[in-house]
Symmetry: C2
Subunit: 409 residues, 2 copies
Amino acid sequence: MKILHTADWHIGKKLFGYDLLAEQQAILQQILAIAKKEKVEAIIIAGDVYDRQLPDQQSVSLVNATFQEWNLTEQIPLLVISGNHDSAVRLATGNPWYQQSQFFLHTTLAQAIQPITLADCQFYLLPYVEPYQIKQFFQETNPKHPLAQNVPSLEAGIAAIIDLMKASFDLEKKQILVSHFFVAGSQRQESETPLEVGGLASVAADLFGDFAYVALGHLHSPKALTKGNIRYSGAPLKYAIGESQDTKGVYLLDTDYLTNQYQAKQSSQAVQAPTGLTEAALRFIPLTPLHELRALTTNFGQLLHPDDALKKISEDYLAITLTDHEPILNVMAQLRSQYPRLLSVTRQQIALQQTDNQLSYQEVQNELSPEELVQAFFKQLTNQELSKLQTTWLNQGLQAIQSTETKDD
Amino acid sequence: MKILHTADWHIGKKLFGYDLLAEQQAILQQILAIAKKEKVEAIIIAGDVYDRQLPDQQSVSLVNATFQEWNLTEQIPLLVISGNHDSAVRLATGNPWYQQSQFFLHTTLAQAIQPITLADCQFYLLPYVEPYQIKQFFQETNPKHPLAQNVPSLEAGIAAIIDLMKASFDLEKKQILVSHFFVAGSQRQESETPLEVGGLASVAADLFGDFAYVALGHLHSPKALTKGNIRYSGAPLKYAIGESQDTKGVYLLDTDYLTNQYQAKQSSQAVQAPTGLTEAALRFIPLTPLHELRALTTNFGQLLHPDDALKKISEDYLAITLTDHEPILNVMAQLRSQYPRLLSVTRQQIALQQTDNQLSYQEVQNELSPEELVQAFFKQLTNQELSKLQTTWLNQGLQAIQSTETKDD
């Protein structure tokens, strides 16, 4: 069975005030094109469909139209959960009708422990939950369970939920878990919303040893975790400047090449570590956005008179670091006419490690006059001496401060 | 065919800060009980399902659960439109899947002109629209239509939409229009949101002569309009103090007893006025809320020491008019412990028509001293003279004002 794994669409997300809806619409079309070309038999969307609990109407329209096209028009089964950014209640609207066309959307723990069987797989769709919801679940379903009293950590809660799932494991099938949380040891990125308070909300990878594949959402890089059979698909687009070097995409899973971990464990005496995923079992397919997100380091003159290479990327989302030292008036406004998706302009930080220029605490405290102090500080930051004119300004400024101080006394 | 007609649920509405969700849940259960008892074959919900474009999660839960129970569990066909309070886009979530179980939810004009045929009826579900949406619709579907240039009024737009509907009228069926707007000549109520700017958003009743029944939402009283075949079902609950004397409920329609207006017109030379609805064709079924909304006029002493009749209604939503004239400290707080759903406490307005007490403009202008003026005003409002103590306070106040005026000069 071929499955496409995506997550963290964050529909409705804005990037430095730019509406990304057209980008998101294009990338979803690209995902569908991959799904059709690869003839996948199901698509996993592992949470954070929306960027917020109360998405705007355009976002709702896009998601509704996407689900309709993928599931009703293209007749692809969908396996979807709510993430920490979604409103589980709002996302669940329409859900009781969806199942008729193999659109499975789980937003509650009661649903999560019910497997969905498609071809050679059993899918468990575990939405993002908080410990209080796990406690509530046990209070309602099994009041004598210790977790009905107290859920000491998310990990303890998830472990108990997985135990419930195991009761319905069919040894003839491969078990696939779809979920949305932070697995301990994963790499974080800038555009993710941290969940943890004091580490209580992370889950150990060891918990998932019985699943043939764990399709996660929450972290935005497909490289966040590549341990055993656990993968974050990552977001389909770069949602932060810090992600400019990333390659975003989707995972393609072929369950024919998966090992049934649970069965393997049952039939062997020794507990084995997950065997990991071969290339035949899992491939990463990169996505190409309408407009790339790039971090550039250059100077203002080059930006005003771009060469061909720069012209070619002028419509992209650009985070620019200027190497200039001189003040430039209205720098964003001047650049925006040529670079319509300019995200930010920052000045290059001069490295402070050069010991020649570095001020000692003692110098700062005692030995330098105010004028010398400013001169030394300027040199430390810019590696240049103050010009004559700058020295004149400095002295005028220092005098003005001094005369104010005298007056106040 | 037996049909239940309801509208204007306004799920999520608050009344003087009180959450009405439990009331709304109970009244929806009562409507379902009527539908089951009467074995209706369809339920019309003529808009304003929600009270706002962005309903809270509890409201979304209630509406989702209601639709699921009515349509999937009880297998009752639903005919639903969006009203001016709904977000058409958000309400439409799940819609492409709903039709499989005869849940018809129309939120666009393109859907509105497509009839839904059930038994002996053709239903046209015309959601609340504004003239700009009618213009957009013609621009997209028939750019040469004059309304693609300009929609001079809602009425002109609705007339053109009805013309499009007529193209699919089946003379063997009875035509039922479900819609949500203000029909000229209807009686308004306090809890409705007016739509009209300068009367442009009202629609003449004459437009609907070809429909066997017009099931409307928007106005909250079932008596808002009882002309010909047009009815507002009204809201299922009282949503304003001014509606305390209303009887809220639902309409039950039996289409066996309807006249096919369109056919009648086609087969006779003379254009006839709609024949109106017999009792066999249309019955009104009142609803009983969990807690009534009542307007009471009484005095504070009676409220503190209620008789049995008052005790019986102490849990209801009460709008109290006090007949007392004396100041009462923290009146709301004092009463709330005994009357947990107290909406408001107002003082009885003394009638100002008593010419004996009335001040003339001339008196006010010239003849009375400040002290006399206040005395006369007090008498006018309370029909009592100032007491000695009150006169002392008045003089102290007037002196204080005078000394301030002198200081300022």
